[in-house]
Symmetry: C2
Subunit: 285 residues, 2 copies
């Protein structure tokens, strides 16, 4: 499929992808680029990294697949930096959580280069960041959304599908803009809701959290995510997110009004609506 793969940024997702490639012997060679020396030193001790490089140029040379696994605001700068050093026909992909802006800018940047960028978003992750939380099983059975454009060569798209499938993921192709509208609702809104819920309890004596059950823990889990990563994701998708926040506010407002009016039937109706959608989320696959 691909012989030489370059992993740019061995964080939680990048290292998990490298582990999964290594575990299934998908490539002859995995080359890794990490920005910090400390991170490069850590990579050198990993069985999944065949070589570790301090420059983008070295890290991508001779590769037929490059996977950019860095925060979303660094993807285009890194792609632009690597372009002059890629072999013709090289496929570049990423693992960013937003796609419209990145894919549009990548298309513009790669014009005339004979290299191709097809965006990807493995829907796997954790509120715990970094290589130390990575594992090949993180990707297992999770969805991976690919966002090709009209100029994506069908054979490269097919190879990319097969690649993520070989790592145990379930790939689907949709348009970048449809992806962003969808993740605004199923990923970015839940993140904002969890963060707001946690933040709204800042006035509470932390000692009282010992009284909480699993409900509060589950509902706020993703608020533990790295603010530095999420600020870029959210700001790149703000318009779709603002729409989804409005839908949320309208659902919240219905419960609030019914509580104010002590309208038990209306409280019931609102809860039932939530329960019904939750059932669909629970049983989706």
């Amino acid at each position: 499929m691909f012989k030489n793969i370059s992993i740019i940024g061995p964080g939680l997702i990048g290292a998990s992808v490298a582990m999964a490639i290594s575990k299934s012997s998908l490539a002859d060679q995995v080359k890794v680029w990490a920005r910090s020396e400390a991170s490069r030193e850590k990579c050198k001790r990993q069985a999944w990294a065949d070589s570790v490089h301090p420059t983008i140029k070295e890290a991508v040379q001779g590769c037929d697949l490059v996977i950019i696994c860095t925060p979303v605001d660094t993807i285009i700068p890194l792609f632009t930096e690597m372009l002059p050093h890629l072999n013709p026909g090289t496929l570049v992909t990423d693992v960013g959580s937003v796609k419209s802006t990145i894919c549009k800018e990548a298309l513009t940047a790669s014009k005339g280069s004979k290299c191709h960028f097809i965006g990807a978003h493995p829907m796997a992750g954790s509120e715990k960041a970094g290589m130390e939380h990575a594992s090949a099983t993180l990707l297992k059975d999770a969805t991976c959304i690919l966002t090709p454009d009209k100029e994506s060569p069908p054979e490269l798209l097919q190879m990319l599908h097969q690649f993520w499938e070989a790592l145990g993921m379930r790939p689907f192709s949709i348009e970048a803009q449809a992806h962003d509208a969808l993740v605004a609702q199923i990923s970015h809104l839940p993140h904002i809701v969890a963060a707001s819920l946690a933040a709204s309890l800042k006035g509470l004596d932390p000692d009282l959290f010992k009284f909480s059950g699993q409900g509060l823990k589950d509902t706020t889990r993703i608020a533990g995510g790295n603010p530095k990563l999420w600020e870029s994701i959210l700001s790149q998708n703000s318009s779709a997110i603002l729409d989804s926040i409005e839908q949320f506010e309208s659902a919240l407002s219905a419960i609030k009004t019914s509580l104010k009016n002590q309208d038990v039937a209306a409280i019931h109706k609102a809860l039932e609506e939530g329960q019904s959608v939750r059932g669909k989320i629970e049983h989706s696959k």
Copy 2:
């Protein structure tokens, strides 16, 4: 400690309590009352039920501890019904998720009866209701809040503490009103937020939920709770809940404004606040 214990309502919590009593041989006898015949038939096949009764009178006769494990709006009617049939000195407790109204009304109802009501709220549960999801381990290491009043006999309160402790729980006593203000924030608000989040996605093609990661699943889990149970809980605690919704709305509004303004520093600050509180929730015990 207690010789004859009556479990009124063998649902998720009632049956779990009965199982834990039976497992640790805490009582000579566990008597069970269930409203429906189907439920009584199921109980008769359980090792943790020594006898099963169709009337409250029979179920509480000769008991020194009665635990009312039914929905919150039925606790006072059942307590009033059982009062004439209780031995003097009998302790009655419950497992309701709201306490102020129940404890106040129980105090009024029991005046002159020589029986005592001390409210309890085991902070254990699941979005799955019913006896079939019950287990003795559900209670293990979870908090149980007791809400005695000024007239609660200290020796009975102590026995009730020891009882929940013997079931593996961690009991704490606080005032009923403080309990309600606290659970509005750490339990009822999360429930409303999860329900609103799920409900806000009702317009989405359910087939698209397969693209969601664990984040949406965790954040909406408790929205699966039974609307019938929750409508009473929420409506009995509406004033404290409305306060906590306002705090939540103010946190959400901060993120919304920062997204509108594309103010990345402000997005970061809001997410960091959420992350910081989440850390305290995660590490609380």
